[in-house]
């Protein structure tokens, strides 16, 4: 878990991709990042195959890879690293993730319905036309996300953080946003209809409920 090896190129600060042994299991060998690996096509193929053939995935590092049109239905990710990845046309239902890192990732035209992603970080990510409808997203980090035409409807966002996020045409209808922090957020056409906004934190004073305001 979290085998965050640096790229073998001394001056490079990118994270190295996961390596696999002959049986297809993840090893903690040193490797190159996507920019410096001699055969990026082979490395990507190994990672795609690993995801396709395993339902429970622990400690996979795919930093910087593009995933197009993959189906992650019922996959389970534990302690995986998807920093700086790009997901397009991703479809998944019942995806489960714990302690995984999706920082600075781009999600474009993705559907993640009824997911259970807890203690996961999406810091600095971009969501465009992405649906997280009906998901359990407790204690997640959405700080600095940019969300366009996306939906978190019917989701549980308890204790998550959207600090310095940019939310455009994004809906949080019927969500549990208790203890969710929206400090320094830029909002444009954002809907919180049917959500418990009194329990969320929108400014430094804290939640309306804690202040005893009507």
């Amino acid at each position: 878990m979290y085998i965050l090896n640096k790229c073998l190129v001394h001056s490079c600060r990118n994270l190295a991709l996961s390596t696999f042994d002959d049986e297809g299991k993840i090893t903690d060998e040193q490797n190159y990042c996507l920019d410096h690996i001699p055969d990026p096509g082979k490395a990507k193929e190994q990672i795609y195959t690993y995801i396709r053939t395993h339902d429970v995935i622990v400690g996979l590092n795919t930093a910087g890879i593009t995933f197009a049109g993959i189906d992650l239905t019922n996959k389970r990710f534990y302690g995986c690293n998807f920093q700086h990845c790009t997901f397009t046309n991703l479809h998944s239902e019942g995806l489960r993730s714990r302690m995984s890192m999706f920082d600075f990732t781009t999600f474009c035209d993705c559907t993640l319905l009824n997911c259970n992603m807890q203690f996961t970080s999406f810091g600095g990510s971009t969501f465009s036309h992405t649906l997280f409808t009906g998901s359990d997203m407790v204690q997640n980090n959405f700080n600095g996300v940019q969300s366009f035409q996306s939906s978190f409807d019917d989701s549980d966002l308890y204790n998550s953080r959207f600090i310095r996020a940019k939310l455009v045409n994004t809906s949080f209808r019927n969500c549990n946003i208790k203890k969710t922090i929206f400090l320094d957020c830029t909002q444009e056409n954002v809907s919180f209809k049917m959500s418990n906004t009194r329990e969320a934190v929108f400014d430094r004073k804290g939640s309306a409920l804690a202040q005893g305001l009507d």
């Binding site: 965050l4 714990r98 953080r161």
Partner: protein, 202 residues
């Protein structure tokens, strides 16, 4: 290395069990409250609990220690002697402890409390209340606040951007995200920036 996360519902603090699967030994960071789930994690994995690391001596991070010491006999590492009296291995400044086959680097990061410590195992930093996703720890006065910001800048922001931060409260994050979006640190950076010269009148 395997990290198990537990949310302590009492103080909403995070407790982490870090296990070394190859030698079947484990350590615990911030046992806020010991639940059946944590005991199951240790017992089902057949781990020998060899160490407990405390980030700072606040109730929601140490309350479970009493229960833990009734069951196991781990070495206790903290910067405050009062955590477990004479059984505490008091650590100060920066250094390294080799335990459970893991190399645990510790760094003193006072500010939130005088005894605040940050632990680094592999490329994961356990930051306690010094810094959490988007915010820094609370302080009692402006001097502590200055010290905390200074220490975060020197000891945490100097790490690789992909370094994972596991805080004492709230969701996980990474150094790169905190550098860009931490509300308190970005404001400090703005404050320290050179004042913008007004444009000369045309």
């Amino acid at each position: 290395m395997k990290i198990y996360f537990h949310l302590n519902l009492g103080g909403f603090s995070n407790c982490y069990v870090v296990a070394n699967e190859s030698i079947k030994e484990a350590i615990i960071i911030d046992p806020g409250r010991i639940t059946e789930e944590i005991i199951d994690t240790i017992e089902n994995g057949s781990y020998k609990l060899t160490g407990v690391f405390i980030t700072h001596n606040h109730g929601s991070h140490v309350h479970g220690l009493k229960t833990l010491r009734k069951i196991y006999t781990p070495k206790i590492y903290a910067a405050d002697w009062e955590v477990a009296g004479n059984d505490t291995n008091v650590i100060t400044g920066d250094g390294k402890v080799r335990i459970a086959g893991l190399s645990v680097r510790y760094m003193a990061l006072p500010g939130h409390t005088a005894d605040s410590m940050v632990y680094k195992i592999g490329t994961v930093l356990f930051t306690g209340d010094a810094i959490s996703a988007g915010k820094i720890g609370t302080t009692n006065n402006s001097y502590s606040d200055f010290i905390l910001r200074n220490n975060i800048e020197r000891k945490i922001f100097s790490q690789q951007d992909g370094t994972v931060l596991m805080p004492g409260h709230g969701p996980p994050t990474c150094v790169g995200v905190e550098k860009l979006y931490n509300l308190d640190m970005v404001r400090t950076a703005d404050k320290n920036a050179a004042p913008i010269e007004p444009l000369p009148d045309e």
